[in-house]
Amino acid sequence: MTNLAIELPGLSLKNPIMPASGCFGFGREYSDFYDLGKLGAVIMKAATATGRIGNPTPRVAETASGMLNAIGLQNPGVYKIMETEVSFLSQFDTKIIANIAGSTLEEYEEVAHAFNETEHVHALELNISCPNVKEGGIQFGTDPSMAARVTEAVKKASNLPVYVKLSPNVTDIVSMAKAVEAAGADGLSMINTITGMQIHLPSRKPLIANRTGGLSGPAIKPVAIRMIYEVSQQVNIPIIGMGGIQNAEDVLEFLLAGASAVAIGTANFQNPFICSEIIDELPNILEKYGFHSVQEAIGKGIVS
């Protein structure tokens, strides 16, 4: 029996598979396809203090083996999410991770504090890297000291374990990771999207209304693997890996690179069953490559 379970701060996961934030809404739509209780955890769409209307459309574009998105943190606000979405998700036998975002330190604190009030949220994913929020989000995610500050603030505002979601749009991912680790992060989540753009030839304008968007999907997997590999050697907190995962082999590649669990984003759009199918396939793949558990594979690809 291949053991898929994995223990992370605040998260006893039955398996390392979770849908990535923003790619699964609050689970409602996907619950029509399969029992969400099968998932290791669900990472909810980003929550801000009050509701946000998001960016104008078009908000998505297709690229070679990837896509751009600039949703712009549209969400009904943390209180509404607690009321309607967390309570909905809590019916499933899975862990709930709340992705939190904000424009100011105070907003992050407010959201973190609010999620603290429910027993159903098991961890926070601190989104300091959403490239589509202009008010300051981009600063938090690319400056180590800013990232440390928001991590500290959120740790103080909440008792929940905090996974800081790192942006790949930086020169030195390792110093970002070290800064948030020193500031008290319980784990890391990486990578968020890489800022990109597409120009629509007929209109001669950026296709995404927001001009730039975040690149996700298989196109960015090599960047995710590289960053996780580098960071996992330099920090002592676990990493939730993501970026282009499409199948169980990809999951194993992330584990070998140093991730302890993974999130699956863009692939849900092509196949709403993807997380469920990967959970079914993972034991075979682990065995095929000689592993008896998820735990055993973590960091095994690292050459010292």
Binding site: G22, C23, F24, G25, Y30, T57, P58, R59, N69, I71
Partner: protein, 251 residues
């Protein structure tokens, strides 16, 4: 209910310039499809599925017809699929048109270009319910025209082309005045057409079907939103739409 399933290509043919008619077979999806809904089709290895309206549905034969224009890489690839091959489809998606009109009433269908397809299944369904159908179809030019015959079988049909190379010259709005009394309208087509139309038919009861670039197609990713009139909220085209009351949305 939405299903992700294989649909067998029963036939595929070119019916007008760059315009393909494809008949697909799947019992479940055809069994529950209503007019105005769409299919989210996986084409090759593309990261995003392609949304295509249900243009017709034959519940006895378990068949759904789609009509699409070659408009980019995905639709170009889709046009190359052959009879007997299977498509991976998510559907039926969206809300569809409300077709609870009283029998004996008259409805006007107004379609522009590749907005024509969903109106056909709608018109057929309405007619089966005893409703009178009048149709106006706008195309760029003569070789883009399709399904004229099919709509004529439903009722009076006006064809309009931008350059007058076939039917009336001009825009669909130019011939509306030639249509007699109607109780309600249903429309699908490019935004400028819908704008002109809803302005001209202001106050009339009407439904319009909208398009937007989509991610998930099922309401989870917030890609395809449309702000509501008051600007404080939004609708998802893939889930709350693609059909909206004309008064409900800002184009």
């Amino acid at each position: 209910m939405i299903k992700k399933d294989k649909m067998k290509i029963v036939s595929t043919r070119c019916i007008a310039k760059d315009t393909i008619e494809m008949v697909l077979e799947n019992q479940f999806i055809s069994g529950i499809a209503v007019p105005g809904q769409f299919l989210h089709i996986q084409v090759g290895k593309h990261i995003l599925r392609r949304p295509i309206s249900i243009a017709d549905c034959n519940k006895e034969l378990n068949q759904i017809t789609i009509l699409f224009k070659i408009n980019g890489v995905g639709t170009d690839e889709l046009a190359n699929y052959q009879q007997g091959e299977y498509l991976d489809v998510l559907g039926p998606l969206g809300n569809g048109f409300t077709t609870d009109g009283e029998s004996k009433s008259t409805v006007l269908l107004i379609g522009g270009g590749i907005g024509v397809p969903p109106l056909y299944y709608l018109g057929k369904t309405l007619k089966e319910n005893g409703i009178n159908i009048v149709t106006i179809l706008g195309f760029q030019q003569k070789d883009n025209v399709f399904y004229e015959q099919q709509f004529q079988e439903l009722g009076e049909t006006f064809i309009v082309t931008d350059n007058g190379s076939y039917g009336h010259k001009g825009f669909v709005t130019d011939v509306i005045d030639q249509v007699g009394r109607f109780d309600c309208y249903y429309s699908c087509g490019p935004i400028p057409m819908l704008k002109a139309l809803t302005a001209k038919l202001k106050g009339k009861k009407g439904f319009i079907s909208l398009e937007e670039r989509m991610g998930c197609g099922i309401g989870a990713c917030f890609a395809c939103v449309l702000p509501t009139k008051d600007g404080t909220s939004y609708k998802k085209i893939c889930k709350d739409g693609p059909v909206f009351q004309a008064e409900e949305v800002t184009l």
